[in-house]
């Protein structure tokens, strides 16, 4: 373990985790809206927002799946030191972290059971840019419609068809994050 993996956590955990959670909760409650999350300084290729999310939500009770370039020693050591979260494969994780290409296909993640739809994975998708344009979102948390740049539309459509089962997504880029829970109907914007 390198010394740098000991750095970059919250400097005052109770306060910064509370602020980060409020941003994450606002994002999950208002899908498509972009919130700002700071406080974490995770190793590359993790974004600040993904780092803050992991620090806020992950602990020894939540197996994490690292995908693609995120499955590197620096990220593993950082998460192990700051959260103590165990690492798992797709089928048994509660959180997954990576970019869209490495996280796909989505069929292998737990989507919950009919009795316990909450026992599903939350995917933290690192995207190059977050913008309130692109695909159209409809559903609880959105007054009429919202727009969000998504890596792909079809996968979100088949995910919401599973409701009340399904995966929930956080999209992160730099210090920004947005959420797309399973309730959201996604369609390609016209024009």
């Amino acid at each position: 373990m390198q010394e740098q993996s000991l750095q970059g956590g919250f400097s005052c955990e109770p306060i910064e985790a509370a602020q980060a959670f409020r941003a994450a909760m606002s994002a999950m409650a208002r899908p498509g809206r972009i919130e700002v999350m700071a406080g974490a300084r995770p190793p590359a290729p993790m974004s600040v927002a993904a780092g803050a999310l992991i620090l806020t939500l992950c602990d020894p009770e939540t197996p994490v799946y690292l995908a693609g370039a995120w499955a590197c020693a620096e990220v593993r050591d950082w998460i192990t030191f700051h959260c103590g979260a165990p690492f798992a494969d797709r089928a048994t994780c509660t959180f997954a972290l990576g970019d869209w290409a490495s996280l796909s296909p989505l069929s292998a993640y737990p989507i919950g059971t009919p009795e316990y739809p909450d026992r599903s994975a939350t995917l933290i998708v690192e995207v190059p840019v977050l913008a309130e344009q692109g695909a159209t979102l409809r559903g609880p948390g959105i007054r009429d419609t919202a727009t969000l740049l998504l890596p792909e539309v079809a996968a979100f459509q088949s995910n919401s068809a599973l409701f009340p089962l399904g995966l929930d997504f956080f999209l992160t880029s730099g210090e920004c994050l947005a959420a797309v829970p399973r309730t959201i109907q996604v369609s390609q914007s016209e024009g």
Binding site: E13, P14, I15, A17, A18, Q19, F21, R22, A24, M25, S26, M28, A29, R30, P31, T56, L57, C58, D59, E61, T62, T94, T113, P114, E115, Y116, P117, D118, S120, T122, P140, G141, I142, R143, F163, P164, D168, P181, R182, T183
Partner: protein
């Protein structure tokens, strides 16, 4: 404040509660199990709401706590003091000034905004519990969307009383999927649950359940075509502020059974009186 971790709970507990809140928002109306902790107050005093509030608070929040609409009752005062001491947050009695409102059995009269969070204290989160005592069975009923029993209960109300006699904890259906107990709010408040701008979180401490409604969620009170849902209230105006469309408490004022009706939402009533509205018994 230095004696306690911010907002009383330890960080591991808060993470567990926070994960439950996020899943609750992702599946509106579904009751997420969580490992409720013992709190320094008895069950029935809002231990679920307190844990949800503690996991949600940030230092810049302004907290309002109401009990049946009132800011000045024992339950509301002690929870407000609890968070003043353990989180060091500002508290207020003004609905409009609050960023988090923890409530026992009422929704404030004043419309809430997008910047606010409403936390409900819930005694029995399972709407089917009094119809089916087994958790295994009710969980199966939710998963199969088998809610016929609830309609039978409402129908029995009609056959016995001529109308749906359920007046509080009136069951609702969320986004056409989960039947949810809105906590024992009067059914007068039910129409405010749907399309609300604020985030609504529900915490049941003893029963270890958290559920949530994101803003602008579709919430429909169960009813029948020939017996539509009706949000009822006492047929009076507030004796202090004269409000005709607020929910009223009936107060017995002497030994001969004389009574008066006053707003249950004390902040609403006081601001109306401050603005010059006068009821028929205002001193």
């Amino acid at each position: 404040m230095s004696e306690y971790n911010f907002a009383y709970l330890d960080e591991q507990t808060k993470r567990m509660i926070r994960r439950a809140i996020l899943k609750g928002l992702a599946v509106p109306g579904y009751q997420v199990p969580f490992a409720s902790r013992e709190m320094p107050m008895p069950y029935g005093w809002g231990t679920g709401g307190v844990q949800v509030t503690a996991a949600t608070l940030v230092p810049s929040d302004t907290l309002k706590v109401i009990d049946q609409g009132a800011d000045d009752t024992t339950n509301a005062v002690s929870i407000r003091k609890f968070f003043e001491r353990t989180a060091g947050v500002e508290t207020t009695e003004k609905t409009a000034h609050a960023s988090i409102i923890q409530t026992r059995h009422r929704i404030p009269e004043e419309s809430l905004t997008e910047d606010q969070v409403l936390v409900f204290q819930v005694p029995i989160p399972e709407p089917l519990r009094f119809l089916e005592p087994s958790e295994v069975e009710t969980r199966k009923m939710h998963s199969l969307e088998e809610y016929g029993l609830m309609h039978v209960k409402l129908y029995e109300d009609i056959s016995r009383h001529g109308h749906i006699a359920t007046s509080y904890a009136y069951p609702v259906k969320v986004e056409g999927r989960y039947v949810m107990d809105p906590s024992p709010i009067p059914k007068f408040d039910n129409p405010k649950l749907g399309d609300m701008a604020a985030i609504q979180l529900f915490g049941a401490g003893r029963e270890q359940r958290i559920y949530a409604l994101p803003p602008y969620t579709q919430v429909v009170s169960l009813d029948f075509e020939d017996h539509p849902f009706e949000a009822s209230k006492a047929d009076h105006a507030c004796a202090l502020c004269g409000a005709e469309h607020s929910y009223l408490d009936e107060v017995i004022v002497d030994d001969s059974g004389k009574r008066m009706f006053v707003c249950s939402d004390t902040d609403f009533c006081e601001s109306r009186r401050a603005a010059g509205h006068v009821g028929e018994q205002a001193a």
